[in-house]
């Protein structure tokens, strides 16, 4: 999907809602402070948290443009798994619990919406060619971690996809890197669960196009106690609830590279 050449000075971008409608509401409440021209979500609306259908009205109300993540593709097309790309049996076990819950509790109208989301959004802003996608421009479920993504690889995909700014999510941990000729890559993080860092907040990004291109990561507090309470009421795994309450990841760990994994507790 090409948005043409909108006159964006600032945009808000986030990934991985993971059913965390409370964080999405907190983000919506915070937006006026940032005076953004548009809001984008890089996909994975479902997973992990409770009440999938509470996300949809918030996206509509706040006119949030959404890129399709692997989860949205799966839910939208009634597939049997989330296509997250996990390879470990324990990771897949918990991913499947989360997926089955989300699939069962997502209304048909919301599934249709997810099925029709675009795999990427492009636009030009203040002379910069921008590409928004979920995992990477070349594959929706590609993990681009900071410690496993060489600068020369990023330079090449900027060239291959003819873009100056690439924004992704999928891994759940934010990072960014300056590239040559004023180009920039950023993984914008997720608002659905904390970052495996002993803190309960989540993260979103503000992209500034003037006076020069830069990405600002913004910590977002939300009512995580309420989320944990609702997850318990919905009988979601205690392992997920512990992540919300402590900030440490307890599942889906095996996909983490050593450098990122060693910073966590588990």
């Amino acid at each position: 999907m090409d948005f043409g050449e909108p006159d964006f000075k600032r945009i808000a971008v986030f990934g991985g809602v993971y059913n965390n409608y409370l964080a999405l509401q907190a983000l919506a409440n915070a937006l006026p402070r940032h005076r953004v021209d548009a809001v984008f979500c890089l996909g994975d609306l479902g997973a992990f948290g409770p009440h999938p259908d509470r996300v949809f009205p918030l996206l509509e109300k706040h006119n949030i443009q959404v890129v399709q993540g692997n989860y949205d593709n799966s839910i939208g097309n009634d597939l049997n798994d989330c296509q997250c790309g996990y390879t470990d049996p324990r990771d897949n076990y918990f991913a499947q619990i989360s997926y089955d819950y989300t699939k069962t509790n997502t209304h048909r109208e919301f599934k249709n919406y997810q099925r029709n989301l675009p795999p990427e959004i492009r636009f030009n802003a203040h002379g910069k060619k921008v590409l928004l996608c979920h995992g990477s421009p070349r594959r929706t479920n590609e993990f681009l971690w900071e410690s496993t993504t060489p600068t020369h690889f990023l330079e090449k995909i900027c060239k291959d996809y003819q873009t100056d700014l690439i924004l992704t999510t999928h891994t759940g941990i934010k990072w960014q890197r300056r590239l040559s000729d004023g180009k920039l890559f950023a993984n914008v993080g997720v608002i659905g669960r904390p970052e495996n860092d002993d803190k309960t907040n989540v993260w979103f990004s503000i992209v500034h196009f003037v006076p020069e291109l830069r990405v600002e990561f913004v910590a977002l507090e939300y009512d995580f106690q309420q989320l944990a309470k609702e997850m318990k009421e919905e009988k979601l795994p205690d392992e997920f609830i512990q992540t919300v309450l402590t900030g440490w990841w307890t599942t889906c760990l095996e996909i983490l590279p050593g450098k990122e994994r060693v910073r966590g507790k588990f």
């Binding site: 049996p89 479920n141 060489p150 020369h152 690889f153 050593g258």
Partner: protein, 305 residues
Amino acid sequence: MSASLLQIAALPENSPKVNFHGLDALWFQVGGTVCNLWCTHCFISCSPKNHSFEFMSASEVGRHIEESITYGVKEYYFTGGEPFMNRDMLAILEHTLQNGPATVLTNGILISPKIAARLREIVAAKLYTLEIRVSVDGFSEFTNDAIRGEGSFRRAIEGVRNLVDEGFLPIITTMQSWDESDNETVLAKFKEVLAGFGYSRPRLKIIPPLRIGREIVRYRGYTEGEYLTPEMMVGYDDRQLLCSTSRTITDRGVYVCPILIEQPAARMGNALAETFKPFPLYHQACYTCYLAGAVCSNFNPGRDS
């Protein structure tokens, strides 16, 4: 007919071809085929006496890494033989990690406290991750030493402990020599044993047996029906296969993958650039990769969504 003969006799003329989707991973046979162990399941029959392939020097590896930058290579793997028998190994890692993430496949025996400390120093100053995969075949001396040689379990675990003491989380790699249905039990027991040695959050990777090299004698070779046909590739995402996005550099040319370096037909050329083309999945070992995905990678890339 013996299994080893079948490997030659059963080569189908109409082998399906795997596409080449760009160079994501670059492997180096940095330890050649020289190893300080003589494992009974080794798919390229490495040993202290096997000099079919020799060590690669730091300058040789460095030249290829410089070239790889042009291709946007995402990750680098180092295997052998035993990579740490190569005296240039630390220098190779130091240089590689300035450019991208590196993984070393080792039996752990040469990872002394001093080497582990040096590895920590190297990786601490780098942006990119260093993954160290230590091969341990089974969670006890009984299962491991029967395959890898007497005393190898104790010495490998010492290497693991040295790495853990320096803050690494090595990936313990083990060939599945038990029934698949026992995976969960074996993994649980493995974790328990490693915790007992001080590795409280171990990372484990199970590799399916590759029925070539010495494994043919240890257990069995491939059976007559275990090969790929064009029909099997219909609807199959070939990006799951290592050979669709990777090449292996040795001191004797560039090969399609690290598993087939002893197969002359798997040598694709002298220079990397001439190997960027489809490859016939003619070998029966390709059948294992077809079923299990990119068995040699740290993580399988997963199906495209």
